[in-house]
Protein backbone atom coordinates (compact mmCIF):
# COMPACT_ATOMS: atom_id res chain seq x y z
CA UNK A 1 0.00 0.00 0.00
CA UNK A 2 1.28 3.42 -0.90
CA UNK A 3 1.63 5.86 1.99
CA UNK A 4 -0.29 8.35 -0.14
CA UNK A 5 -3.44 6.34 0.48
CA UNK A 6 -3.05 6.55 4.25
CA UNK A 7 -4.99 9.74 5.12
CA UNK A 8 -7.95 8.77 2.95
CA UNK A 9 -7.93 5.24 4.32
CA UNK A 10 -7.82 6.57 7.89
CA UNK A 11 -11.02 8.52 7.28
CA UNK A 12 -12.65 5.50 5.69
CA UNK A 13 -11.63 3.43 8.71
CA UNK A 14 -13.91 5.64 10.84
CA UNK A 15 -16.73 4.82 8.44
CA UNK A 16 -15.90 1.13 8.72
CA UNK A 17 -15.89 1.39 12.53
CA UNK A 18 -19.31 3.05 12.36
CA UNK A 19 -20.68 0.19 10.27
CA UNK A 20 -19.14 -2.30 12.71
CA UNK A 21 -20.87 -0.51 15.61
CA UNK A 22 -24.11 -0.67 13.64
CA UNK A 23 -23.70 -4.39 13.16
CA UNK A 24 -22.91 -4.99 16.84
CA UNK A 25 -25.88 -2.98 18.07
CA UNK A 26 -28.27 -4.75 15.73
CA UNK A 27 -27.52 -7.88 17.78
CA UNK A 28 -28.09 -6.23 21.18
CA UNK A 29 -31.32 -6.16 23.11
CA UNK A 30 -33.24 -2.86 23.23
CA UNK A 31 -34.07 -1.74 26.76
CA UNK A 32 -36.96 0.75 26.51
CA UNK A 33 -36.21 4.07 28.17
CA UNK A 34 -32.47 3.47 28.18
CA UNK A 35 -29.65 4.06 25.74
CA UNK A 36 -27.75 1.17 27.30
CA UNK A 37 -28.45 -2.04 25.37
CA UNK A 38 -28.96 -5.45 26.96
CA UNK A 39 -27.45 -8.80 25.97
CA UNK A 40 -27.13 -10.54 22.63
CA UNK A 41 -30.36 -11.26 20.77
CA UNK A 42 -31.83 -11.79 17.32
CA UNK A 43 -35.07 -10.04 18.29
CA UNK A 44 -34.27 -6.91 16.24
CA UNK A 45 -34.11 -8.88 13.03
CA UNK A 46 -37.32 -10.72 13.88
CA UNK A 47 -38.96 -7.32 14.47
CA UNK A 48 -38.02 -6.29 10.92
CA UNK A 49 -40.64 -8.72 9.69
CA UNK A 50 -43.28 -7.67 12.22
CA UNK A 51 -46.66 -6.76 10.68
CA UNK A 52 -46.28 -3.00 11.27
CA UNK A 53 -43.03 -2.91 9.32
CA UNK A 54 -43.63 -5.39 6.51
CA UNK A 55 -45.80 -2.73 4.84
CA UNK A 56 -42.86 -0.30 4.82
CA UNK A 57 -40.59 -2.91 3.23
CA UNK A 58 -43.20 -3.76 0.61
CA UNK A 59 -43.81 -0.06 -0.17
CA UNK A 60 -40.07 0.47 -0.43
CA UNK A 61 -39.62 -2.30 -2.99
CA UNK A 62 -42.71 -1.32 -5.02
CA UNK A 63 -41.84 2.39 -5.06
CA UNK A 64 -38.23 1.61 -5.98
CA UNK A 65 -39.27 -0.61 -8.88
CA UNK A 66 -41.74 1.97 -10.22
CA UNK A 67 -39.16 4.73 -9.80
CA UNK A 68 -36.59 2.73 -11.75
CA UNK A 69 -38.88 2.09 -14.71
CA UNK A 70 -40.24 5.65 -14.88
CA UNK A 71 -36.78 7.15 -14.50
CA UNK A 72 -35.43 4.98 -17.33
CA UNK A 73 -38.21 6.10 -19.66
CA UNK A 74 -37.86 9.79 -18.75
CA UNK A 75 -34.06 9.87 -18.71
CA UNK A 76 -33.45 8.10 -22.02
CA UNK A 77 -34.47 10.93 -24.40
CA UNK A 78 -32.48 13.50 -22.42
CA UNK A 79 -29.44 11.23 -22.32
CA UNK A 80 -29.75 10.59 -26.05
CA UNK A 81 -29.84 14.32 -26.79
CA UNK A 82 -26.92 14.90 -24.43
CA UNK A 83 -24.78 12.22 -26.07
CA UNK A 84 -25.66 12.98 -29.68
CA UNK A 85 -26.05 16.74 -30.01
CA UNK A 86 -23.35 18.12 -32.31
CA UNK A 87 -23.43 21.50 -30.56
CA UNK A 88 -21.10 21.92 -27.62
CA UNK A 89 -23.29 24.74 -26.32
CA UNK A 90 -26.45 22.61 -26.26
CA UNK A 91 -24.52 19.84 -24.53
CA UNK A 92 -23.25 22.24 -21.91
CA UNK A 93 -26.75 23.61 -21.34
CA UNK A 94 -28.33 20.15 -20.93
CA UNK A 95 -25.45 19.09 -18.69
CA UNK A 96 -25.79 22.10 -16.41
CA UNK A 97 -29.60 21.69 -16.23
CA UNK A 98 -29.05 18.02 -15.41
CA UNK A 99 -26.32 18.58 -12.86
CA UNK A 100 -27.81 21.57 -11.05
CA UNK A 101 -30.52 19.47 -9.35
CA UNK A 102 -27.91 16.75 -8.80
CA UNK A 103 -25.92 19.19 -6.70
CA UNK A 104 -28.84 21.09 -5.19
CA UNK A 105 -29.21 19.43 -1.85
CA UNK A 106 -31.87 16.89 -1.08
CA UNK A 107 -33.69 19.25 1.26
CA UNK A 108 -34.01 22.11 -1.20
CA UNK A 109 -35.14 19.77 -3.97
CA UNK A 110 -37.67 17.99 -1.78
CA UNK A 111 -39.01 21.23 -0.35
CA UNK A 112 -39.53 22.44 -3.91
CA UNK A 113 -41.73 19.41 -4.54
CA UNK A 114 -43.66 20.09 -1.33
CA UNK A 115 -44.59 23.42 -2.92
CA UNK A 116 -45.41 21.98 -6.35
CA UNK A 117 -47.40 18.99 -5.07
CA UNK A 118 -49.12 21.00 -2.35
CA UNK A 119 -51.45 22.84 -4.77
CA UNK A 120 -49.30 25.99 -4.85
CA UNK A 121 -48.87 26.07 -8.62
CA UNK A 122 -51.89 24.18 -9.85
CA UNK A 123 -54.70 22.46 -8.04
CA UNK A 124 -54.24 18.75 -8.60
CA UNK A 125 -57.33 16.72 -9.50
CA UNK A 126 -56.19 14.03 -7.04
CA UNK A 127 -54.30 14.56 -3.77
CA UNK A 128 -50.54 14.46 -4.42
CA UNK A 129 -48.76 15.60 -1.29
CA UNK A 130 -48.50 12.94 1.44
CA UNK A 131 -49.47 10.16 -0.99
CA UNK A 132 -47.42 7.44 -2.67
CA UNK A 133 -48.07 9.15 -6.03
CA UNK A 134 -46.39 12.30 -4.81
CA UNK A 135 -43.46 10.40 -3.31
CA UNK A 136 -43.04 8.60 -6.64
CA UNK A 137 -42.85 11.90 -8.56
CA UNK A 138 -40.23 13.17 -6.12
CA UNK A 139 -38.21 9.95 -6.34
CA UNK A 140 -38.19 9.99 -10.15
CA UNK A 141 -37.07 13.61 -10.16
CA UNK A 142 -34.38 12.72 -7.64
CA UNK A 143 -33.03 9.83 -9.75
CA UNK A 144 -33.13 11.58 -13.13
CA UNK A 145 -29.68 13.22 -13.04
CA UNK A 146 -27.91 9.99 -12.09
CA UNK A 147 -29.74 8.00 -14.72
CA UNK A 148 -29.17 10.64 -17.42
CA UNK A 149 -25.43 10.66 -16.72
CA UNK A 150 -25.14 6.85 -16.83
CA UNK A 151 -27.24 6.48 -19.99
CA UNK A 152 -25.47 9.36 -21.74
CA UNK A 153 -22.09 7.77 -21.00
CA UNK A 154 -23.34 4.43 -22.40
CA UNK A 155 -24.82 6.09 -25.50
CA UNK A 156 -21.58 8.01 -26.07
CA UNK A 157 -19.74 4.73 -26.37
CA UNK A 158 -21.89 3.61 -29.30
CA UNK A 159 -20.29 4.41 -32.65
CA UNK A 160 -22.96 6.23 -34.76
CA UNK A 161 -21.59 4.34 -37.75
CA UNK A 162 -23.81 1.37 -36.80
CA UNK A 163 -26.92 3.54 -36.84
CA UNK A 164 -25.90 5.10 -40.15
CA UNK A 165 -25.28 1.66 -41.61
CA UNK A 166 -28.74 0.45 -40.58
CA UNK A 167 -30.36 3.61 -41.96
CA UNK A 168 -28.50 3.35 -45.27
CA UNK A 169 -29.80 -0.20 -45.63
CA UNK A 170 -33.33 1.20 -45.48
CA UNK A 171 -34.32 0.91 -41.81
CA UNK A 172 -36.73 3.59 -40.58
CA UNK A 173 -35.54 5.77 -37.66
CA UNK A 174 -37.85 3.89 -35.27
CA UNK A 175 -36.47 0.60 -36.56
CA UNK A 176 -32.87 1.78 -36.19
CA UNK A 177 -33.59 2.78 -32.61
CA UNK A 178 -35.31 -0.49 -31.71
CA UNK A 179 -32.86 -2.83 -33.43
CA UNK A 180 -29.53 -1.00 -33.08
CA UNK A 181 -29.40 1.86 -30.56
CA UNK A 182 -31.53 0.31 -27.83
CA UNK A 183 -29.76 -3.09 -27.77
CA UNK A 184 -26.34 -1.43 -27.84
CA UNK A 185 -27.27 0.81 -24.91
CA UNK A 186 -28.52 -2.15 -22.85
CA UNK A 187 -25.43 -2.21 -20.58
CA UNK A 188 -26.18 1.36 -19.52
CA UNK A 189 -29.86 0.59 -19.04
CA UNK A 190 -29.08 -2.38 -16.81
CA UNK A 191 -26.46 -0.70 -14.64
CA UNK A 192 -28.41 2.58 -14.48
CA UNK A 193 -31.56 0.71 -13.53
CA UNK A 194 -29.85 -1.31 -10.81
CA UNK A 195 -28.07 1.75 -9.38
CA UNK A 196 -31.26 3.81 -9.25
CA UNK A 197 -33.15 0.88 -7.73
CA UNK A 198 -30.45 0.47 -5.07
CA UNK A 199 -30.38 4.19 -4.25
CA UNK A 200 -34.14 4.45 -4.07
CA UNK A 201 -34.29 1.52 -1.64
CA UNK A 202 -32.56 3.73 0.93
CA UNK A 203 -34.19 7.03 -0.05
CA UNK A 204 -34.90 9.19 2.97
CA UNK A 205 -35.69 12.90 2.53
CA UNK A 206 -38.18 12.39 -0.32
CA UNK A 207 -40.53 9.97 1.47
CA UNK A 208 -39.97 11.81 4.76
CA UNK A 209 -41.18 15.19 3.49
CA UNK A 210 -43.43 14.23 0.57
CA UNK A 211 -44.88 11.26 2.46
CA UNK A 212 -45.54 13.37 5.55
CA UNK A 213 -45.53 10.33 7.84
CA UNK A 214 -48.22 8.60 5.78
CA UNK A 215 -45.76 6.92 3.38
CA UNK A 216 -42.92 5.07 5.09
CA UNK A 217 -39.91 3.55 3.42
CA UNK A 218 -37.13 1.58 5.13
CA UNK A 219 -35.00 4.67 5.80
CA UNK A 220 -37.92 6.46 7.44
CA UNK A 221 -38.37 3.53 9.81
CA UNK A 222 -34.65 3.76 10.69
CA UNK A 223 -35.09 7.45 11.54
CA UNK A 224 -38.31 6.88 13.51
CA UNK A 225 -36.76 4.12 15.59
CA UNK A 226 -33.30 5.64 15.93
CA UNK A 227 -33.96 9.35 16.40
CA UNK A 228 -37.52 9.47 17.74
CA UNK A 229 -37.84 6.29 19.84
CA UNK A 230 -34.12 6.00 20.72
CA UNK A 231 -34.36 2.32 19.81
CA UNK A 232 -30.89 2.12 18.32
CA UNK A 233 -30.72 -1.69 18.14
CA UNK A 234 -34.03 -1.86 16.25
CA UNK A 235 -32.99 0.97 13.94
CA UNK A 236 -29.62 -0.73 13.36
CA UNK A 237 -31.33 -3.90 12.12
CA UNK A 238 -33.33 -1.88 9.59
CA UNK A 239 -30.28 0.13 8.53
CA UNK A 240 -28.43 -3.15 7.93
CA UNK A 241 -31.33 -4.38 5.82
CA UNK A 242 -31.01 -1.26 3.62
CA UNK A 243 -27.24 -1.68 3.49
CA UNK A 244 -27.44 -5.36 2.56
CA UNK A 245 -30.00 -4.76 -0.21
CA UNK A 246 -27.94 -1.90 -1.65
CA UNK A 247 -24.64 -3.77 -1.56
CA UNK A 248 -26.17 -6.92 -3.08
CA UNK A 249 -27.55 -4.93 -6.01
CA UNK A 250 -24.35 -2.98 -6.57
CA UNK A 251 -22.29 -6.17 -6.47
CA UNK A 252 -24.58 -7.43 -9.21
CA UNK A 253 -23.84 -4.26 -11.25
CA UNK A 254 -20.09 -4.80 -10.80
CA UNK A 255 -20.40 -8.48 -11.75
CA UNK A 256 -22.36 -7.64 -14.90
CA UNK A 257 -19.99 -4.92 -16.07
CA UNK A 258 -16.84 -7.00 -15.44
CA UNK A 259 -18.41 -9.86 -17.42
CA UNK A 260 -18.82 -7.48 -20.31
CA UNK A 261 -15.24 -6.25 -20.03
CA UNK A 262 -13.93 -9.82 -20.09
Amino acid sequence: MSFRLLPAVAVLAVFAAALAALFRWSLLEFVPGSLQPGGLTLANFRAVLAPQYVGAIRDTVVLSALTTVLTLVCAYPVAYALARTPSRRVRSLILVLTLAPFFTGAIVRTYAWVLVLGNTVVTWPVPMLFTERGVLVGLVHFSMPTMILILAAALSHIDPVYERAAASLGASPAHVFRRVTLPLSMPGIVSGGLIVFAWTLSAFPTPELLGGGKVKMIANVVKDLGLDSFNWPGAAAFALLALALTLALLTLVGRLSSDRAA
Binding site: L35, C74, R91, V96, D159, A219, K223, L243
Partner: protein, 261 residues
Protein backbone atom coordinates in the same frame (compact mmCIF):
# COMPACT_ATOMS: atom_id res chain seq x y z
CA UNK B 1 -40.64 14.80 -31.42
CA UNK B 2 -37.41 13.98 -29.61
CA UNK B 3 -36.66 17.68 -29.23
CA UNK B 4 -40.10 18.33 -27.70
CA UNK B 5 -39.73 15.41 -25.30
CA UNK B 6 -36.30 16.62 -24.19
CA UNK B 7 -37.55 20.17 -23.64
CA UNK B 8 -40.53 18.91 -21.62
CA UNK B 9 -38.37 16.59 -19.52
CA UNK B 10 -35.84 19.33 -18.85
CA UNK B 11 -38.79 21.51 -17.84
CA UNK B 12 -39.85 18.77 -15.40
CA UNK B 13 -36.32 18.79 -13.98
CA UNK B 14 -36.27 22.57 -13.60
CA UNK B 15 -39.92 23.20 -12.61
CA UNK B 16 -39.46 22.83 -8.83
CA UNK B 17 -36.55 25.25 -8.87
CA UNK B 18 -38.60 27.85 -10.74
CA UNK B 19 -41.46 27.49 -8.27
CA UNK B 20 -39.17 27.89 -5.26
CA UNK B 21 -37.61 31.04 -6.68
CA UNK B 22 -41.01 32.50 -7.55
CA UNK B 23 -42.53 31.71 -4.16
CA UNK B 24 -39.54 33.22 -2.34
CA UNK B 25 -40.53 36.70 -3.59
CA UNK B 26 -44.14 36.25 -2.52
CA UNK B 27 -45.35 39.11 -0.32
CA UNK B 28 -47.78 37.03 1.76
CA UNK B 29 -47.36 34.08 4.08
CA UNK B 30 -49.96 32.14 2.12
CA UNK B 31 -48.08 30.39 -0.67
CA UNK B 32 -49.30 31.37 -4.09
CA UNK B 33 -48.03 31.00 -7.63
CA UNK B 34 -47.50 33.15 -9.59
CA UNK B 35 -46.70 35.50 -6.69
CA UNK B 36 -49.06 38.39 -6.03
CA UNK B 37 -46.23 40.90 -5.91
CA UNK B 38 -42.58 41.24 -5.11
CA UNK B 39 -41.16 41.30 -1.62
CA UNK B 40 -37.87 40.54 0.07
CA UNK B 41 -39.37 40.03 3.53
CA UNK B 42 -38.76 36.26 3.50
CA UNK B 43 -35.11 36.85 2.68
CA UNK B 44 -34.89 39.16 5.67
CA UNK B 45 -36.65 36.52 7.72
CA UNK B 46 -34.33 33.75 6.54
CA UNK B 47 -31.19 35.76 7.16
CA UNK B 48 -32.24 36.95 10.63
CA UNK B 49 -33.70 33.69 12.00
CA UNK B 50 -31.26 32.84 14.84
CA UNK B 51 -31.26 29.07 14.29
CA UNK B 52 -30.44 29.57 10.59
CA UNK B 53 -27.62 31.94 11.53
CA UNK B 54 -26.15 29.42 13.94
CA UNK B 55 -26.55 26.61 11.41
CA UNK B 56 -24.96 28.73 8.68
CA UNK B 57 -21.92 29.26 10.86
CA UNK B 58 -21.75 25.51 11.53
CA UNK B 59 -22.08 24.83 7.80
CA UNK B 60 -19.25 27.24 7.07
CA UNK B 61 -16.92 25.60 9.60
CA UNK B 62 -17.79 22.02 8.66
CA UNK B 63 -17.65 22.62 4.89
CA UNK B 64 -14.38 24.55 5.00
CA UNK B 65 -12.70 22.03 7.28
CA UNK B 66 -13.88 19.00 5.35
CA UNK B 67 -13.06 20.47 1.92
CA UNK B 68 -9.58 21.51 3.05
CA UNK B 69 -8.96 18.00 4.38
CA UNK B 70 -10.67 16.03 1.63
CA UNK B 71 -8.90 17.71 -1.29
CA UNK B 72 -5.32 16.88 -0.20
CA UNK B 73 -6.36 13.42 1.08
CA UNK B 74 -8.23 12.63 -2.11
CA UNK B 75 -5.50 14.03 -4.37
CA UNK B 76 -2.83 11.93 -2.68
CA UNK B 77 -5.05 8.87 -3.02
CA UNK B 78 -5.79 9.60 -6.69
CA UNK B 79 -2.06 9.94 -7.43
CA UNK B 80 -1.40 6.64 -5.69
CA UNK B 81 -4.22 4.92 -7.56
CA UNK B 82 -3.20 6.07 -11.02
CA UNK B 83 0.59 6.22 -10.73
CA UNK B 84 1.75 3.46 -8.43
CA UNK B 85 1.90 -0.18 -9.33
CA UNK B 86 -0.61 -0.98 -6.60
CA UNK B 87 -1.73 -4.47 -5.97
CA UNK B 88 -5.52 -4.75 -5.99
CA UNK B 89 -6.00 -1.29 -7.51
CA UNK B 90 -9.62 -2.09 -8.28
CA UNK B 91 -10.25 -2.95 -4.65
CA UNK B 92 -8.72 0.33 -3.42
CA UNK B 93 -10.71 2.29 -5.97
CA UNK B 94 -14.02 0.80 -4.94
CA UNK B 95 -13.08 1.23 -1.28
CA UNK B 96 -12.44 4.94 -1.84
CA UNK B 97 -15.70 5.34 -3.72
CA UNK B 98 -17.69 3.26 -1.22
CA UNK B 99 -19.08 6.14 0.92
CA UNK B 100 -21.16 7.03 -2.14
CA UNK B 101 -23.06 3.76 -2.04
CA UNK B 102 -23.56 3.23 1.69
CA UNK B 103 -27.12 4.27 2.57
CA UNK B 104 -27.07 7.56 4.45
CA UNK B 105 -29.22 6.21 7.28
CA UNK B 106 -26.80 3.30 7.82
CA UNK B 107 -23.69 5.51 7.90
CA UNK B 108 -25.53 8.13 9.96
CA UNK B 109 -26.85 5.75 12.60
CA UNK B 110 -23.49 3.93 12.81
CA UNK B 111 -21.63 7.21 13.33
CA UNK B 112 -24.23 8.29 15.89
CA UNK B 113 -23.69 5.11 17.92
CA UNK B 114 -19.92 5.42 17.60
CA UNK B 115 -19.87 9.10 18.56
CA UNK B 116 -22.19 8.50 21.51
CA UNK B 117 -19.92 5.75 22.80
CA UNK B 118 -16.88 8.02 22.50
CA UNK B 119 -18.75 10.96 24.06
CA UNK B 120 -18.21 13.10 20.95
CA UNK B 121 -21.83 13.92 20.13
CA UNK B 122 -21.45 17.60 20.99
CA UNK B 123 -18.48 17.97 18.66
CA UNK B 124 -18.52 19.34 15.15
CA UNK B 125 -15.54 17.12 14.36
CA UNK B 126 -17.82 14.13 13.98
CA UNK B 127 -19.56 16.02 11.18
CA UNK B 128 -16.22 16.97 9.64
CA UNK B 129 -14.95 13.38 9.54
CA UNK B 130 -18.24 12.17 8.04
CA UNK B 131 -18.18 14.91 5.41
CA UNK B 132 -14.57 14.20 4.47
CA UNK B 133 -15.49 10.55 3.82
CA UNK B 134 -18.60 11.50 1.84
CA UNK B 135 -16.72 14.05 -0.27
CA UNK B 136 -13.68 11.84 -0.98
CA UNK B 137 -15.26 9.90 -3.88
CA UNK B 138 -15.91 13.15 -5.77
CA UNK B 139 -12.37 14.42 -5.18
CA UNK B 140 -10.73 11.11 -6.11
CA UNK B 141 -12.88 10.84 -9.24
CA UNK B 142 -12.19 14.29 -10.64
CA UNK B 143 -8.47 14.31 -9.79
CA UNK B 144 -7.87 10.76 -11.07
CA UNK B 145 -9.30 11.67 -14.50
CA UNK B 146 -6.77 14.48 -14.84
CA UNK B 147 -3.85 12.47 -13.46
CA UNK B 148 -4.52 9.80 -16.08
CA UNK B 149 -4.32 12.50 -18.77
CA UNK B 150 -0.99 13.90 -17.54
CA UNK B 151 2.05 13.21 -19.67
CA UNK B 152 4.43 11.29 -17.35
CA UNK B 153 7.36 12.51 -19.51
CA UNK B 154 7.08 15.92 -17.83
CA UNK B 155 7.59 14.40 -14.40
CA UNK B 156 10.36 12.12 -15.67
CA UNK B 157 12.10 15.14 -17.18
CA UNK B 158 12.06 16.95 -13.83
CA UNK B 159 13.32 13.84 -12.05
CA UNK B 160 16.09 13.27 -14.57
CA UNK B 161 17.25 16.85 -14.01
CA UNK B 162 17.79 15.95 -10.36
CA UNK B 163 14.56 17.03 -8.64
CA UNK B 164 13.74 14.85 -5.62
CA UNK B 165 10.30 13.16 -5.75
CA UNK B 166 8.52 15.63 -3.42
CA UNK B 167 9.82 18.48 -5.51
CA UNK B 168 8.52 16.90 -8.72
CA UNK B 169 5.07 16.68 -7.10
CA UNK B 170 5.12 20.27 -5.82
CA UNK B 171 6.66 21.93 -8.87
CA UNK B 172 5.37 19.80 -11.76
CA UNK B 173 2.47 17.47 -10.91
CA UNK B 174 0.34 19.75 -8.74
CA UNK B 175 0.63 22.84 -10.98
CA UNK B 176 -0.42 20.72 -13.96
CA UNK B 177 -3.41 19.46 -11.96
CA UNK B 178 -4.54 22.94 -10.92
CA UNK B 179 -7.84 22.94 -12.88
CA UNK B 180 -8.74 19.51 -11.53
CA UNK B 181 -7.85 20.52 -7.98
CA UNK B 182 -10.03 23.59 -8.28
CA UNK B 183 -12.94 21.51 -9.59
CA UNK B 184 -12.42 18.98 -6.79
CA UNK B 185 -12.55 21.78 -4.23
CA UNK B 186 -15.80 23.03 -5.77
CA UNK B 187 -17.33 19.55 -5.75
CA UNK B 188 -16.23 19.09 -2.15
CA UNK B 189 -17.81 22.38 -1.08
CA UNK B 190 -21.05 21.71 -2.97
CA UNK B 191 -21.46 18.16 -1.67
CA UNK B 192 -20.58 19.04 1.92
CA UNK B 193 -22.76 22.15 1.97
CA UNK B 194 -25.77 20.12 0.81
CA UNK B 195 -25.20 16.92 2.80
CA UNK B 196 -28.27 16.08 4.83
CA UNK B 197 -29.06 12.49 5.79
CA UNK B 198 -25.85 11.56 7.61
CA UNK B 199 -25.66 15.01 9.22
CA UNK B 200 -29.22 14.69 10.54
CA UNK B 201 -28.16 11.68 12.60
CA UNK B 202 -24.94 13.11 14.03
CA UNK B 203 -25.81 16.70 14.81
CA UNK B 204 -27.47 18.29 17.79
CA UNK B 205 -29.46 21.53 17.87
CA UNK B 206 -26.14 23.27 18.64
CA UNK B 207 -23.94 21.67 15.96
CA UNK B 208 -26.53 21.21 13.19
CA UNK B 209 -25.69 22.45 9.70
CA UNK B 210 -28.03 24.38 7.40
CA UNK B 211 -29.76 21.51 5.56
CA UNK B 212 -30.67 19.94 8.92
CA UNK B 213 -31.98 23.26 10.24
CA UNK B 214 -33.93 23.68 7.00
CA UNK B 215 -35.45 20.21 7.39
CA UNK B 216 -36.63 21.04 10.91
CA UNK B 217 -38.06 24.34 9.64
CA UNK B 218 -40.02 22.70 6.80
CA UNK B 219 -41.47 20.14 9.16
CA UNK B 220 -42.67 22.86 11.55
CA UNK B 221 -43.50 25.95 9.46
CA UNK B 222 -45.02 26.54 6.03
CA UNK B 223 -44.18 30.20 5.29
CA UNK B 224 -41.90 31.09 2.33
CA UNK B 225 -38.80 31.66 4.53
CA UNK B 226 -37.57 28.27 3.39
CA UNK B 227 -38.14 29.27 -0.24
CA UNK B 228 -35.94 32.33 0.24
CA UNK B 229 -33.13 30.33 1.81
CA UNK B 230 -33.50 27.61 -0.86
CA UNK B 231 -33.19 30.24 -3.59
CA UNK B 232 -29.91 31.43 -2.11
CA UNK B 233 -28.71 27.78 -2.04
CA UNK B 234 -29.80 27.17 -5.64
CA UNK B 235 -28.11 30.35 -6.85
CA UNK B 236 -24.85 29.39 -5.18
CA UNK B 237 -25.03 25.85 -6.61
CA UNK B 238 -25.81 26.93 -10.18
CA UNK B 239 -22.91 29.39 -10.15
CA UNK B 240 -20.61 26.68 -8.79
CA UNK B 241 -21.64 24.12 -11.44
CA UNK B 242 -21.14 26.70 -14.20
CA UNK B 243 -17.70 27.57 -12.89
CA UNK B 244 -16.81 23.88 -12.57
CA UNK B 245 -17.86 23.29 -16.17
CA UNK B 246 -15.60 26.17 -17.26
CA UNK B 247 -12.56 24.86 -15.45
CA UNK B 248 -12.98 21.18 -16.05
CA UNK B 249 -15.03 20.23 -19.08
CA UNK B 250 -17.75 18.31 -17.22
CA UNK B 251 -18.66 16.19 -20.23
CA UNK B 252 -15.15 14.74 -19.97
CA UNK B 253 -15.49 13.93 -16.28
CA UNK B 254 -18.70 12.00 -16.94
CA UNK B 255 -17.42 10.58 -20.26
CA UNK B 256 -20.22 12.02 -22.36
CA UNK B 257 -20.17 13.05 -26.02
CA UNK B 258 -17.40 12.47 -28.51
CA UNK B 259 -14.73 12.49 -25.80
CA UNK B 260 -16.35 9.43 -24.22
CA UNK B 261 -15.67 7.20 -27.16
Amino acid sequence: MLRLAVVLLLAFMTLPTVVVVAVSFNPTAILSFPPAGLSLRWYVNALTYPQFQRAALNSLVVTLASALLAVPFGTAAALALVRHPLRARGLWTSLLLSPLVIPGVAAGLGLLILAAKLGLLQSRWVLVVAHVALVLPFVVRSVAVSVANLDPALERAAASLGAPPWRVVVRVTLPLLRPALFAALLFAVIVSLNEFVVSLFISTRVTEILPVAMFTYVVNYTDPTMAALSTLFIAATVVAVFVADRFLDLSRVFQIGEEGR
